[in-house]
Structures are given as structure tokens and as C-alpha cells.
Symmetry: C2
Subunit: 195 residues, 2 copies
């Protein structure tokens, strides 16, 4: 036999994805060339095509991996009993998870329009699944009578926008720790749903 399959590709492959993630987040998908990514990796542009079918797939794979991570992490999150405890778990989880990977979050929200139609539909489905998790909690809270929000779908969208918004202003080493931010936001979430 020849050398073990992918003895180098196991290094270069992740490097390509990391470089693409950082560059797409900084300059935008359309503004980044394959040659820029290759330069960041330390390789010629042609070599990238050993690791991705084309530029579009590179973007899609990053977004899909991010959404898969998100859904898996939420599934593994301890949630507590009762809708209110679960809402708190969701709020804290959302902030923590998103603050930990700002580049991926940025791309997932900003580059949707650069996806092909099929790829867009796939990512959109994952996003809806995630929104559905929050919606289900709010629905349960309504049933338990601990939430008075009049429109669950709107509340879902409002809360996600509010929580994701943390990423636009939070800077590491700033005035507040992530926990302090999560505390304050949880307070606002609770107030917003009338609990």
C-alpha cells in the first residue's frame, strides 16, 4: 500500500475551513477570493479543490456545520423542569454558544443570500428547527400559565433577535463578563414574555 490516506489532508482540510471562516466573516463571502484563502493556508489556489468542490460548497459546509453544532449542543444542554426553567436554559445557552463562535454566527446570518437555492433551503430548515425549540418552550409556558405573551411566533422571533444581538456589541475583556450579560438578558427575556 501507499502512505496512509490523508496523512496531510487531515491537517490542510481544517486549515482551509478555518481560513475561509475567518476571511468570510471579516470581508464577506463575495469579497474573498480563493487565492486569498489559499494564501492564508499557505498553499496555491488549485490545492483548495482537493478539499472543497467549489467556493459555494465551502460556504455551505461552514454554515451547515455551524447549524449542526448548534442543534447538537442544544440537544445536549441540561434544561431543567418546567417551561420557565427551560426558557432560562435556552437564553443562557444561546448567548454562550453564540459568543463562543462569533465568526460562524456572523456568516450564518449574513451570507444566506450567497447560497444557492437548494443550499439556502437546507440551512433555512435547520434554522427553523432551532427556532422551533424556543417556540415549543414558549408554547409549553403558555399552557402552564407562566407566560402571558400574546403571540408565540412573534415572541420567538423577538427573543432570538434580542439574544443574537449580543454578538454585535460584546467584546471580550469588556465591562461585563459573559455570565453577567446572560443574567441581565435573562431578566429582559423574562420580562418580555410577561413572566
Amino acid at each position: 500500500m501507499a502512505r496512509k490516506t490523508g496523512s496531510h489532508s487531515e491537517i490542510t482540510g481544517p486549515k482551509v475551513r478555518r481560513a475561509a471562516l475567518a476571511l468570510f466573516a471579516q470581508h464577506g463571502f463575495a469579497a474573498v477570493s480563493m487565492r486569498q484563502i489559499a494564501a492564508e493556508v499557505g498553499v496555491q489556489a488549485g490545492a483548495l479543490y482537493l478539499y472543497t468542490k467549489d467556493k459555494q460548497s465551502l460556504l455551505y459546509d461552514l454554515m451547515q456545520a455551524h447549524m449542526d453544532d448548534l442543534l447538537a449542543a442544544w440537544k445536549a444542554e441540561p434544561k431543567g423542569d418546567g417551561a420557565l426553567a427551560q426558557l432560562e436554559a435556552f437564553a443562557r445557552f444561546h448567548i454562550r454558544f453564540h459568543l463562543e463562535r462569533p465568526d460562524a454566527v456572523f456568516i450564518a446570518y449574513m451570507e444566506l443570500r450567497n447560497l444557492s437555492d437548494e443550499n439556502f433551503a437546507a440551512i433555512e430548515a435547520l434554522r427553523r428547527t432551532y427556532e422551533g425549540e424556543l417556540e415549543a418552550i414558549l408554547h409549553a409556558g403558555h399552557g402552564e400559565g407562566v407566560i402571558t405573551a400574546p403571540d408565540i411566533r412573534l415572541t420567538t422571533m423577538a427573543l432570538i433577535a434580542m439574544l443574537t444581538g449580543v454578538n454585535t456589541w460584546y467584546r471580550e475583556g469588556g465591562r461585563l463578563s459573559r455570565e453577567a450579560v446572560a443574567d441581565i438578558y435573562w431578566d429582559m427575556v423574562r420580562g418580555a414574555v410577561g413572566a
Copy 2:
């Protein structure tokens, strides 16, 4: 004398800005070429340079005009007495204004990274001015004792993210009218600030 200055440019100029706004919003600044804009206007690419110094200025002018509009419209908005009334006025104004011009809003939030450093600083200053308006209301509400939010700066960011988020899901002719949406969001805003 020759013909009146700008007898045609007064038509083509706005056409260029309208076409650029729509195309930038749909595909993103970096993904739209000057030739695409020109085609939309019904003119050759070279003619665009009678109406803009370069592509960057075209983007900047659109964003600046949008922010100027926003600040002027809020200044002209009837606000009522007391912090709570003003907060309600702000929430309703923000939703209404943003829903009326989704393309400009989209560009103003998504294309910041495509601005040159100076242009970015200028737009960022306008944005901060607008945020300052809400922050001042919350500060006043704190003084009046009608608001219990523990951190005014965070509350400002949270509310703006939540309100602007309406643009991501609202579709004309959907389940709810703009007024109904504004009613529900005002409820959530009030709850979030603890009023």
C-alpha cells in the same frame, strides 16, 4: 446659454441610487457590478461615473442618506410626555420607519464592512447618535422610577436588536398588520425594561 443644468441628470441620478439600493440589498455590495447597476438603469457602465465618484461612494451615500433620514424622522416624531410615553413612541417609530424601507435597512446593517475606514466611522457615529436617543429615554425612565432595567446600555442594545429584527421576518400582507406587530412588540419592550 445651453440647456438647463441637469435636465437629465435629475432623472438618471435618482434612478442610479434606486437601482443600486435594490441590487445591493438583494445580492450584496461586493456581488453587484457597476455593469449590473447600469443595465438596471438602462445606461452604459461609464455613465454611472457622472453620478458617483466610485462604487464605494455609491454605497456610502446610500447609507448616509438612510441614517440622515432616520435621525431627521425621529426628530420630527411626536413623542409625548414622560419616559414611558417616549419609549412607546420610539418603539413604534422604529418599527414603522424600518418596515417602510427594508432595502436601506438591510444595507445599513450588512454592508458596514464594505465601507472604507473613514466612511465606516462616519456611519458608525450616526448609528451611535440614534442609539443615544433611546439610551437617553431609558436613562430618564430610570430617573422617573418607571424602569427597573439594571443596565441601560445593554437594554438599549437589546431593544434595538429586538425591534430591528422585525425586518427579518415581516412580510407585507401577512398574518398581522404593522400596527398589530407594533402593539405586540411594545408590550414586549415594556416587559423587558420592567415597566
